[in-house]
């Protein structure tokens, strides 16, 4: 009996949006519009996608206009997150463009009377023997792209691509150095009004009474908007809106808030809450070995703020019962879904259009401010309203990356070899994004009259890399393990997706404990890791980083080196990091980070390096400095002074090597470095100062506390 070969699948984004014309359009002579559903968040995705399209279509990249995502026109690719844009959008576009090229070759073949196999495309011009020629644009009347993509289209082989693998310059950078408005913040709509929203200082407090008199007296005020506990102002200018808000704040009466946990004992808080427990993975030893002793360690990381350099901003404009929204959300369709619930309007009445904001490292307040703008714009008589959050709002009302407590118990035999491994996580969920549930996730939805309950964050399923449990299953070949995740069912501090979700915490824990065990055994930490890895790509990044950093550097007093490794989500990019730190007394400084990374095919190698450098520096900032501060009543880290991040003088040198694998499907790079860098710094601190700091951030106080514990 013969079996038909399985039908090849379309790339996921294409299966969901198969219509070719939703991705590619030949517009005016010589131009091609490429319309991905993923958005630019400072990661350079738009350029990498243009490279892919240019390759498959055989056109110069300069002819491509990359269209910003909008629910009016773009394919629905969900959310731009999880380092999946190259995987989703890139694969879809490669497939679509190969299909489109084939269709045009057929049309050209008919028109020119030449076998399609003899035709060639160069910069959009199709030519064949005898100097016959036509072009995509000449043929665009004959070729309809209103067809669905079919599975089985064969894209070019890696070797035939000329743009992919090149570090071409990013298409958005000239605008940004020549001050051409590109950010949503800089976009001037005609008749634009300005809105500001009133939010409580005390966490969980609700607006119960409001004296609007003083605000109404502010010159330039257009409207005071009140909807239950949601209140805000619309004014002619930002200055007037701010003045009115200030006046409104004086007239506000708030209910008592909801108490926040004790920031000094996050682990105690996390480990004492009601939880939903999941066994993430177990491995049972084929031949159980006898453990003689066990090492049990607890690691914590605090709540971490996205802290984009720009406060969140959105614009909205109503036209009777239709509304147009401009947003820097990571997911225009998902935002639209939530807006539709709150507004009780069909999605067809809402257009959500993306415009670039500042770098976004996960689910920040971009979506929240969009609903704010929509609610305020109702009072604007059809004029557009722009709402911008304050720095204070951004630092205390936007969702944070979830705090984590992680306990690992490693069972060891008499030679300190690992025979069992128990990894348990206590954390709030790492995702409460809009558009995923029957209730909205937007902040104002929990404030309006008839409010929706605040959504308790959950974790994405394991198939999507998990959430709090992301990277908790070791890539190492230990004989047995149990991995357990306890997700909190209470959420006094609002959490949602922050770059890497739980991976940074889990990799920090795993790689720190491995280092400790290697040290117990007197074994080189890289050799120890290599001995437990079976995956050659994993070993390659470790060896490459080791070679590049001159591992193992001579021991010098006051200098320490440490290593960290992970494959992001266990399915994405491989990354190894080696940190060199300098320790004087109880103060540390990260001097250098050396990283090796394997993302498969690196479409734009410099773009990958840029992402890895950025990730490494951001992770260093998290590790050394960052921690959302609060007392029992309110978030207190509401400015850059109270929430310091790494400065230019504190930034380490970062050296990155890419292992290029053009034949392997590309994966994203934006989140690969955080876990490995965190662990590498922690391990370097031990190498330098002889203490294991297991609580992030590794501030001076924490180091002193760890030293006291050791002595």
């Amino acid at each position: 009996m013969s079996m038909a070969p399985p039908a090849p699948n379309l790339p996921v984004s294409l299966a969901a949006n198969p219509r070719l014309s939703s991705w590619v359009k030949f517009t005016v002579e010589g131009r091609v519009a490429i319309s991905p559903g993923k958005v630019e968040i400072g990661q350079g995705i738009v350029t990498a996608l243009a490279q892919i399209a240019a390759d498959e279509l055989d056109i110069e990249i300069g002819r491509i206009d990359m269209i910003r995502a909008s629910t009016a026109t773009s394919p629905n690719e969900g959310v731009t997150s999880g380092s999946l844009s190259i995987q989703h959008s890139g694969r879809a576009l490669r497939h679509v463009c190969a299909d489109v090229r084939q269709r045009f070759l057929h049309a050209a073949s008919e028109r020119l009377g030449i076998d399609a196999g003899l035709l060639d495309v160069a910069d959009g011009t199709i030519s064949g023997p005898g100097n016959v020629r036509t072009s995509y644009w000449e043929l665009s009347g004959d070729v309809s792209l209103d067809h669905d993509a079919v599975a089985g289209t064969v894209a070019k082989s890696a070797i035939a691509r000329s743009m992919a693998g090149q570090s071409i310059q990013r298409v958005d950078i000239p605008d940004k150095v020549f001050a051409r408005p590109r950010f949503i913040h800089d976009h001037a709509l005609s008749g634009l009004l300005h809105g500001r929203v009133l939010r409580p200082d005390v966490s969980g407090a609700r607006l119960i009474a409001l004296d609007e008199g003083a605000a109404r007296a502010v010159s330039g005020l257009i409207a005071v908007v009140r909807d239950g506990g949601f209140a805000g102002v619309v004014a002619e200018s930002e200055v007037a809106a701010e003045a009115a808000l200030k006046a409104l704040r004086k007239g506000a009466t708030w209910s008592a808030g909801q108490p926040l946990p004790n920031e000094g004992d996050l682990a105690g808080f996390l480990r004492s809450q009601p939880v939903e427990t999941t066994v993430v993975d177990t491995r049972i030893a084929a031949a159980p070995a006898q453990a003689t002793h066990s090492l049990r360690r607890q690691y914590t990381r605090p709540y971490i703020a996205h802290a984009s350099i720009a406060p969140s901003c959105a614009m909205a404009q109503w036209n009777s019962d239709r509304v147009h929204v401009w947003t820097h959300s990571q997911g225009v369709y998902l935002l639209r879904a939530d807006l539709s619930i709150v507004l009780k309007l069909p999605v067809e009445n809402i257009v959500v259009e993306h415009m670039e904001g500042a770098g976004c490292y996960g689910h920040n307040a971009a979506d929240d401010v969009a609903l704010d703008a929509v609610l305020l714009a109702r009072a604007a008589g059809g004029l557009p309203v722009r709402v911008q959050w304050t720095r204070h709002d951004e630092m205390c009302h936007a969702p944070f990356g979830a705090a984590m407590a992680i306990e690992i118990a490693a069972d060891l035999d008499a030679d300190n070899e690992i025979v069992g491994w128990h990894h348990a996580i206590w954390s709030n969920g790492h995702a409460a994004r809009p558009g995923r549930a029957t209730q909205p996730a937007l902040l104002a939805a929990s404030e309006i009259a008839n409010p929706y309950p605040r959504m308790i964050s959950t974790n994405p399923p394991a198939a999507n890399g998990g959430g709090g449990d992301r990277n908790s299953v070791p890539l190492y070949d230990f004989p047995a393990w149990t991995i357990t995740s306890h997700r909190l069912l209470t959420m006094p501090v609002r959490t949602s997706a922050l770059r890497t979700l739980g991976a940074q915490g889990n990799v920090f824990a795993i790689e720190s404990l491995l280092d400790e065990i290697a040290a117990l055994r007197g074994e080189d930490p890289i050799a120890f890791r290599l001995r437990h890895l079976r995956d050659e790509r994993a070993k390659d990044v470790l060896r490459t980083a080791a070679r590049r950093a001159g591992w193992r550097p001579q021991k010098q007093s006051g200098i320490g080196h440490g290593v960290g490794f992970a494959r992001y989500k266990n399915t994405g990019a491989y990354c190894a990091a080696i940190a060199e730190i300098e320790g004087t007394g109880d103060d540390i400084r990260v001097r250098r980070l050396t990283l090796a990374v394997d993302v498969g095919e690196a479409i734009n190698p410099d773009g990958v390096i840029n992402q890895i450098e950025g990730g490494a520096i951001q992770a260093t900032s998290w590790v050394l400095k960052e921690r959302v501060r609060f007392d029992l009543e309110r978030i207190t880290s509401t400015s850059w002074t109270d929430y310091p991040i790494l400065t230019f003088s504190e930034v380490p040198a970062v050296d990155v090597e890419i292992i290029q694998r053009p034949e392997v499907e590309p994966v994203g790079a934006g989140e690969a470095a955080h876990g490995p860098v965190t662990a590498a710094i922690a391990n370097a601190v031990f190498d330098c100062l002889g203490v294991r700091v297991r609580d992030l951030p590794m501030t001076r106080d924490r180091i002193i506390a760890a030293m006291e514990l050791t002595s």
């Binding site: 150095v177 020549f178 200055v239 720009a310 500042a358 304050t390 450098e613 850059w640 790494l646 930034v651």
Partner: protein, 156 residues
């Protein structure tokens, strides 16, 4: 309201404004200058920095009365795509950003630095940029770009 006059990117401008209004607000909302960005409004992030009489200053907490008769340069006045300032060229060559929201303020700090110190060391560049925050972690590329611009300027 008084009329306050100052030099902006080589031209004289006069604005009728509340003297306590900030330079950032006047630039953005009155004069169509969008390169200085709002980040914190408290002089802490540098996104709004512009060059005032050869010094890089936060424009978000600079009242208009203090700008009278001063010379203000923003990225709009630094150069154009046709005639870029060496810093602009260098930021492109080094691909020195991720999101780029912080970049105008950083260009302002760097331009002021190169004016007073045409051949800075790496440490001097970092020190000059210490009041500019970059959340994306593009610092090292930016430092390389400033050094590249400096060497280009000194060799021309």
């Amino acid at each position: 309201m008084p009329v306050i006059q100052f030099q902006l990117n080589g031209a004289t401008v006069a604005v009728d404004t509340d003297p306590d209004q900030t330079l950032l607000d006047v630039l953005r909302s009155r004069l169509g200058i969008t390169s200085p960005h709002f980040g914190c409004g408290a002089g802490e992030c540098g996104a709004c920095r512009v060059v005032v009489d050869d010094h890089a200053m936060a424009s978000c907490d600079m009242p208009m009365w203090s700008v009278a008769d001063k010379t203000v340069v923003t990225v709009e006045g630094l150069g154009t795509a046709e005639q870029p300032h060496p810093l602009q060229r260098a930021f492109i060559s080094e691909q020195a950003m991720q999101c780029g929201y912080c970049v105008s303020g950083i260009l302002a700090s760097a331009a002021a630095l190169l004016k007073r110190n045409p051949s800075p060391t790496e440490a001097e560049v970092r020190a000059a940029l210490d009041r500019n925050l970059c959340r994306c972690g593009s610092h090292n590329r930016m430092v390389r770009a400033v050094l590249r611009a400096a060497s280009e300027m000194s060799s021309s």
